[in-house]
Symmetry: C2
Subunit: 182 residues, 2 copies
Protein backbone atom coordinates (compact mmCIF):
# COMPACT_ATOMS: atom_id res chain seq x y z
CA UNK A 1 0.00 0.00 0.00
CA UNK A 2 2.47 2.61 1.08
CA UNK A 3 4.94 1.10 -1.36
CA UNK A 4 2.76 2.09 -4.23
CA UNK A 5 2.52 5.72 -3.18
CA UNK A 6 3.89 8.43 -5.31
CA UNK A 7 7.28 9.45 -3.90
CA UNK A 8 6.31 13.11 -3.66
CA UNK A 9 3.27 12.22 -1.57
CA UNK A 10 5.34 9.95 0.62
CA UNK A 11 7.74 12.81 1.30
CA UNK A 12 4.89 15.01 2.43
CA UNK A 13 3.57 12.29 4.69
CA UNK A 14 6.98 11.74 6.23
CA UNK A 15 7.34 15.44 6.91
CA UNK A 16 3.87 15.51 8.44
CA UNK A 17 4.84 12.84 10.94
CA UNK A 18 7.64 15.02 12.24
CA UNK A 19 5.55 18.16 12.05
CA UNK A 20 2.90 16.51 14.18
CA UNK A 21 5.39 15.40 16.80
CA UNK A 22 7.09 18.79 17.02
CA UNK A 23 3.80 20.64 17.22
CA UNK A 24 2.56 18.30 19.92
CA UNK A 25 5.59 18.80 22.14
CA UNK A 26 5.62 22.54 21.63
CA UNK A 27 3.18 22.98 24.52
CA UNK A 28 6.29 22.70 26.67
CA UNK A 29 7.27 26.06 25.29
CA UNK A 30 4.00 27.66 26.25
CA UNK A 31 2.88 28.46 22.73
CA UNK A 32 -0.55 27.98 21.24
CA UNK A 33 -1.22 25.00 18.99
CA UNK A 34 -1.31 27.39 16.04
CA UNK A 35 2.17 28.65 16.84
CA UNK A 36 3.37 25.10 17.38
CA UNK A 37 2.07 24.04 14.01
CA UNK A 38 3.57 27.09 12.39
CA UNK A 39 7.01 26.48 13.80
CA UNK A 40 6.91 22.81 12.85
CA UNK A 41 5.85 23.74 9.33
CA UNK A 42 8.59 26.32 9.02
CA UNK A 43 11.11 23.75 10.21
CA UNK A 44 10.98 22.18 6.76
CA UNK A 45 11.05 25.44 4.85
CA UNK A 46 13.86 27.76 4.06
CA UNK A 47 11.85 30.84 4.82
CA UNK A 48 8.25 31.95 4.62
CA UNK A 49 6.16 35.07 4.17
CA UNK A 50 2.98 35.71 6.12
CA UNK A 51 0.93 34.96 3.03
CA UNK A 52 2.66 31.64 2.53
CA UNK A 53 1.99 30.77 6.15
CA UNK A 54 -1.64 31.64 5.77
CA UNK A 55 -2.00 29.50 2.69
CA UNK A 56 -0.06 26.60 4.18
CA UNK A 57 -1.96 26.53 7.48
CA UNK A 58 -5.28 27.84 6.20
CA UNK A 59 -5.53 30.57 8.78
CA UNK A 60 -5.87 34.31 8.80
CA UNK A 61 -2.99 36.68 8.35
CA UNK A 62 -3.28 38.41 11.72
CA UNK A 63 -3.21 34.99 13.32
CA UNK A 64 0.04 34.25 11.53
CA UNK A 65 1.34 37.65 12.46
CA UNK A 66 0.81 37.13 16.19
CA UNK A 67 2.02 33.55 16.12
CA UNK A 68 5.19 34.51 14.37
CA UNK A 69 5.74 37.34 16.82
CA UNK A 70 5.43 34.99 19.76
CA UNK A 71 7.87 32.62 18.13
CA UNK A 72 10.25 35.51 17.63
CA UNK A 73 9.99 36.39 21.31
CA UNK A 74 11.26 33.00 22.30
CA UNK A 75 13.78 33.16 19.47
CA UNK A 76 12.48 30.17 17.60
CA UNK A 77 11.90 32.27 14.51
CA UNK A 78 14.05 34.99 13.05
CA UNK A 79 13.22 37.67 10.55
CA UNK A 80 15.24 37.33 7.38
CA UNK A 81 16.09 39.92 4.79
CA UNK A 82 15.09 39.14 1.26
CA UNK A 83 16.09 41.79 -1.19
CA UNK A 84 13.66 42.48 -3.94
CA UNK A 85 10.66 41.44 -1.90
CA UNK A 86 8.41 43.79 -0.02
CA UNK A 87 7.00 40.98 2.02
CA UNK A 88 8.66 40.20 5.30
CA UNK A 89 10.26 36.80 5.42
CA UNK A 90 10.84 34.63 8.44
CA UNK A 91 12.94 31.54 9.04
CA UNK A 92 12.65 28.92 11.77
CA UNK A 93 15.63 28.37 13.99
CA UNK A 94 16.60 24.87 12.95
CA UNK A 95 19.28 24.35 15.52
CA UNK A 96 17.40 22.99 18.49
CA UNK A 97 20.30 23.69 20.81
CA UNK A 98 19.93 27.37 20.14
CA UNK A 99 16.16 27.24 20.67
CA UNK A 100 16.67 25.36 23.90
CA UNK A 101 19.22 27.85 25.17
CA UNK A 102 17.22 30.92 24.26
CA UNK A 103 13.97 29.66 25.69
CA UNK A 104 15.04 28.13 28.96
CA UNK A 105 17.60 30.79 29.81
CA UNK A 106 14.95 33.44 29.32
CA UNK A 107 12.40 31.58 31.43
CA UNK A 108 14.74 30.53 34.19
CA UNK A 109 16.20 34.00 34.50
CA UNK A 110 12.72 35.39 34.88
CA UNK A 111 11.85 32.79 37.49
CA UNK A 112 15.01 33.41 39.50
CA UNK A 113 14.77 37.17 39.30
CA UNK A 114 11.12 37.43 40.30
CA UNK A 115 11.39 35.02 43.16
CA UNK A 116 14.69 36.32 44.50
CA UNK A 117 13.30 39.83 44.56
CA UNK A 118 10.22 38.73 46.45
CA UNK A 119 12.32 36.66 48.82
CA UNK A 120 14.60 39.59 49.63
CA UNK A 121 11.65 41.80 50.44
CA UNK A 122 9.97 39.14 52.54
CA UNK A 123 13.13 38.38 54.44
CA UNK A 124 13.48 42.04 55.37
CA UNK A 125 9.95 41.95 56.68
CA UNK A 126 10.65 38.85 58.72
CA UNK A 127 13.70 40.52 60.23
CA UNK A 128 11.58 43.52 61.17
CA UNK A 129 9.12 41.23 62.89
CA UNK A 130 11.87 39.42 64.74
CA UNK A 131 13.32 42.74 65.97
CA UNK A 132 9.91 44.17 66.82
CA UNK A 133 9.44 44.37 70.59
CA UNK A 134 5.71 43.90 70.25
CA UNK A 135 6.17 40.47 68.69
CA UNK A 136 5.36 37.56 70.95
CA UNK A 137 7.91 34.73 71.20
CA UNK A 138 5.55 32.61 69.15
CA UNK A 139 5.49 35.09 66.35
CA UNK A 140 9.23 35.56 66.42
CA UNK A 141 9.73 31.81 66.16
CA UNK A 142 7.43 31.74 63.17
CA UNK A 143 9.19 34.59 61.44
CA UNK A 144 12.50 32.85 61.96
CA UNK A 145 11.16 29.61 60.53
CA UNK A 146 9.95 31.32 57.36
CA UNK A 147 13.14 33.35 57.07
CA UNK A 148 15.20 30.17 57.15
CA UNK A 149 12.94 28.42 54.65
CA UNK A 150 13.42 31.27 52.20
CA UNK A 151 17.15 31.41 52.84
CA UNK A 152 17.35 27.74 52.01
CA UNK A 153 15.40 28.20 48.78
CA UNK A 154 17.78 30.87 47.55
CA UNK A 155 20.31 28.12 46.91
CA UNK A 156 18.05 26.82 44.20
CA UNK A 157 17.59 30.14 42.41
CA UNK A 158 21.31 30.80 42.51
CA UNK A 159 21.87 27.38 41.03
CA UNK A 160 19.35 28.16 38.33
CA UNK A 161 21.29 31.32 37.48
CA UNK A 162 24.51 29.30 37.39
CA UNK A 163 22.85 26.85 35.04
CA UNK A 164 21.81 29.68 32.78
CA UNK A 165 25.35 31.04 32.76
CA UNK A 166 26.85 27.69 31.88
CA UNK A 167 24.37 27.27 29.05
CA UNK A 168 24.90 30.78 27.70
CA UNK A 169 28.67 30.42 27.83
CA UNK A 170 28.56 26.95 26.35
CA UNK A 171 30.48 25.54 29.30
CA UNK A 172 27.79 22.98 29.86
CA UNK A 173 28.80 21.27 26.64
CA UNK A 174 32.18 20.49 28.12
CA UNK A 175 30.37 18.50 30.76
CA UNK A 176 27.67 17.17 28.47
CA UNK A 177 29.01 17.03 24.92
CA UNK A 178 26.62 17.49 22.06
CA UNK A 179 28.28 14.66 20.25
CA UNK A 180 29.25 12.07 22.81
CA UNK A 181 32.11 9.94 21.53
CA UNK A 182 30.46 6.53 22.00
Amino acid sequence: MSDTEKPSIKIEEAKDKVIGAIAETMDLYGVTPAAGNLYATMYFKDQMTLDEMRTELGMSKPSMSTSVRRLQEIEMVKKTFTRGSRKHTYAAEKNFFRSFMAFYCQMWEREAKMNLEAIEEAQEDFIDVIKDSSSTPDIVANAKKYYDQLEESKTYYHWLNDLVDSIRSGKIFEFLPKDPHD
Copy 2:
Protein backbone atom coordinates in the same frame (compact mmCIF):
# COMPACT_ATOMS: atom_id res chain seq x y z
CA MET B 1 3.27 53.12 58.20
CA SER B 2 4.42 49.56 57.72
CA ASP B 3 6.39 49.93 60.97
CA THR B 4 3.21 50.31 62.92
CA GLU B 5 1.67 47.11 61.57
CA LYS B 6 0.88 44.26 63.84
CA PRO B 7 3.65 41.66 63.50
CA SER B 8 1.23 38.86 62.67
CA ILE B 9 -0.19 40.87 59.80
CA LYS B 10 3.27 41.73 58.58
CA ILE B 11 4.14 38.05 58.49
CA GLU B 12 1.13 37.32 56.32
CA GLU B 13 2.02 40.13 53.97
CA ALA B 14 5.59 38.92 53.69
CA LYS B 15 4.40 35.43 52.86
CA ASP B 16 1.99 36.84 50.31
CA LYS B 17 4.82 38.55 48.46
CA VAL B 18 6.54 35.22 47.96
CA ILE B 19 3.30 33.42 47.24
CA GLY B 20 2.54 35.93 44.50
CA ALA B 21 5.96 35.53 42.91
CA ILE B 22 5.88 31.74 42.98
CA ALA B 23 2.35 31.59 41.60
CA GLU B 24 3.26 34.01 38.82
CA THR B 25 6.24 31.99 37.65
CA MET B 26 4.36 28.72 37.86
CA ASP B 27 3.03 29.22 34.33
CA LEU B 28 6.40 27.83 33.28
CA TYR B 29 5.23 24.52 34.63
CA GLY B 30 2.07 24.58 32.58
CA VAL B 31 -0.32 24.67 35.50
CA THR B 32 -3.45 26.79 35.87
CA PRO B 33 -3.35 29.94 38.03
CA ALA B 34 -5.40 28.09 40.63
CA ALA B 35 -2.83 25.32 40.84
CA GLY B 36 -0.03 27.88 40.96
CA ASN B 37 -1.66 29.69 43.83
CA LEU B 38 -2.35 26.45 45.60
CA TYR B 39 1.23 25.25 45.40
CA ALA B 40 2.55 28.61 46.56
CA THR B 41 0.15 28.58 49.49
CA MET B 42 1.11 25.06 50.44
CA TYR B 43 4.75 26.06 50.31
CA PHE B 44 4.28 27.80 53.66
CA LYS B 45 2.22 25.03 55.22
CA ASP B 46 3.22 21.72 56.68
CA GLN B 47 0.35 19.89 55.08
CA MET B 48 -3.20 20.64 54.04
CA THR B 49 -6.53 18.93 53.55
CA LEU B 50 -8.84 19.71 50.64
CA ASP B 51 -11.14 21.61 52.98
CA GLU B 52 -8.29 23.72 54.29
CA MET B 53 -7.29 24.51 50.72
CA ARG B 54 -10.80 25.52 49.85
CA THR B 55 -11.05 27.79 52.85
CA GLU B 56 -7.62 29.29 52.31
CA LEU B 57 -8.08 30.01 48.61
CA GLY B 58 -11.82 30.57 48.66
CA MET B 59 -12.46 28.09 45.88
CA SER B 60 -14.57 25.00 45.38
CA LYS B 61 -13.51 21.57 46.52
CA PRO B 62 -13.49 19.96 43.06
CA SER B 63 -11.25 22.76 41.91
CA MET B 64 -8.84 21.95 44.71
CA SER B 65 -9.14 18.27 43.93
CA THR B 66 -8.15 18.68 40.30
CA SER B 67 -5.45 21.23 41.05
CA VAL B 68 -3.85 19.01 43.63
CA ARG B 69 -3.98 16.07 41.27
CA ARG B 70 -2.19 18.01 38.57
CA LEU B 71 0.42 19.09 41.11
CA GLN B 72 0.88 15.47 42.10
CA GLU B 73 1.40 14.51 38.47
CA ILE B 74 4.36 16.83 38.19
CA GLU B 75 5.48 15.74 41.65
CA MET B 76 5.21 19.13 43.26
CA VAL B 77 2.77 17.82 45.83
CA LYS B 78 2.81 14.54 47.66
CA LYS B 79 0.07 12.78 49.55
CA THR B 80 0.91 12.39 53.21
CA PHE B 81 -0.43 9.92 55.72
CA THR B 82 -2.04 11.35 58.79
CA ARG B 83 -3.26 8.72 61.17
CA GLY B 84 -6.47 9.43 62.94
CA SER B 85 -7.82 11.63 60.14
CA ARG B 86 -10.20 10.53 57.45
CA LYS B 87 -9.32 13.54 55.34
CA HIS B 88 -6.53 13.14 52.86
CA THR B 89 -3.58 15.36 53.52
CA TYR B 90 -1.12 16.75 51.03
CA ALA B 91 2.24 18.43 51.38
CA ALA B 92 4.09 20.64 48.92
CA GLU B 93 7.51 19.55 47.81
CA LYS B 94 9.62 22.30 49.37
CA ASN B 95 12.90 21.28 47.85
CA PHE B 96 12.91 23.12 44.54
CA PHE B 97 15.71 20.96 43.22
CA ARG B 98 13.49 17.94 43.45
CA SER B 99 10.60 19.76 41.75
CA PHE B 100 12.91 20.92 39.02
CA MET B 101 14.26 17.44 38.43
CA ALA B 102 10.90 15.73 38.41
CA PHE B 103 9.24 18.22 36.13
CA TYR B 104 11.86 18.81 33.49
CA CYS B 105 13.02 15.21 33.30
CA GLN B 106 9.46 14.14 32.70
CA MET B 107 8.88 16.79 30.03
CA TRP B 108 12.17 16.41 28.25
CA GLU B 109 11.89 12.66 28.14
CA ARG B 110 8.48 12.99 26.56
CA GLU B 111 9.80 15.51 24.01
CA ALA B 112 12.77 13.33 23.09
CA LYS B 113 10.76 10.14 22.89
CA MET B 114 7.95 11.52 20.75
CA ASN B 115 10.21 13.30 18.33
CA LEU B 116 12.76 10.52 18.01
CA GLU B 117 10.00 8.06 17.21
CA ALA B 118 8.58 10.33 14.54
CA ILE B 119 12.03 10.98 13.14
CA GLU B 120 12.82 7.29 12.85
CA GLU B 121 9.63 6.64 10.95
CA ALA B 122 10.14 9.61 8.68
CA GLN B 123 13.72 8.67 7.95
CA GLU B 124 12.62 5.21 6.87
CA ASP B 125 10.15 6.82 4.50
CA PHE B 126 12.82 9.08 3.06
CA ILE B 127 15.07 6.09 2.48
CA ASP B 128 12.23 4.34 0.65
CA VAL B 129 11.80 7.36 -1.57
CA ILE B 130 15.51 7.54 -2.26
CA LYS B 131 15.57 3.87 -3.24
CA ASP B 132 12.38 4.11 -5.27
CA SER B 133 13.10 3.85 -8.98
CA SER B 134 10.11 6.00 -9.80
CA SER B 135 11.58 8.96 -7.90
CA THR B 136 12.96 11.72 -10.04
CA PRO B 137 16.47 13.03 -9.25
CA ASP B 138 14.82 16.15 -7.89
CA ILE B 139 12.72 14.20 -5.45
CA VAL B 140 15.63 12.05 -4.37
CA ALA B 141 17.69 15.15 -3.64
CA ASN B 142 14.85 16.50 -1.57
CA ALA B 143 14.44 13.32 0.41
CA LYS B 144 18.15 13.28 1.09
CA LYS B 145 18.06 16.85 2.31
CA TYR B 146 15.27 16.15 4.77
CA TYR B 147 16.88 12.92 5.88
CA ASP B 148 20.06 14.77 6.74
CA GLN B 149 18.21 17.54 8.51
CA LEU B 150 16.51 14.98 10.74
CA GLU B 151 19.73 13.08 11.31
CA GLU B 152 21.33 16.31 12.47
CA SER B 153 18.47 17.04 14.88
CA LYS B 154 18.81 13.66 16.56
CA THR B 155 21.97 14.96 18.20
CA TYR B 156 19.82 17.36 20.17
CA TYR B 157 17.35 14.79 21.41
CA HIS B 158 20.16 12.47 22.44
CA TRP B 159 21.72 15.34 24.32
CA LEU B 160 18.41 16.03 26.01
CA ASN B 161 18.30 12.42 27.16
CA ASP B 162 21.86 12.72 28.44
CA LEU B 163 20.89 15.84 30.33
CA VAL B 164 17.98 14.00 31.92
CA ASP B 165 20.28 11.17 32.93
CA SER B 166 22.79 13.49 34.52
CA ILE B 167 20.05 15.24 36.45
CA ARG B 168 18.42 12.01 37.60
CA SER B 169 21.74 10.57 38.71
CA GLY B 170 22.81 13.80 40.35
CA LYS B 171 25.98 13.93 38.30
CA ILE B 172 25.11 17.39 37.10
CA PHE B 173 25.72 18.69 40.61
CA GLU B 174 29.34 17.69 40.34
CA PHE B 175 29.61 20.06 37.43
CA LEU B 176 27.26 22.70 38.85
CA PRO B 177 27.32 22.48 42.65
CA LYS B 178 24.22 23.42 44.55
CA ASP B 179 26.35 25.28 47.02
CA PRO B 180 29.16 26.91 45.12
CA HIS B 181 32.11 27.54 47.38
CA ASP B 182 32.56 31.26 46.65
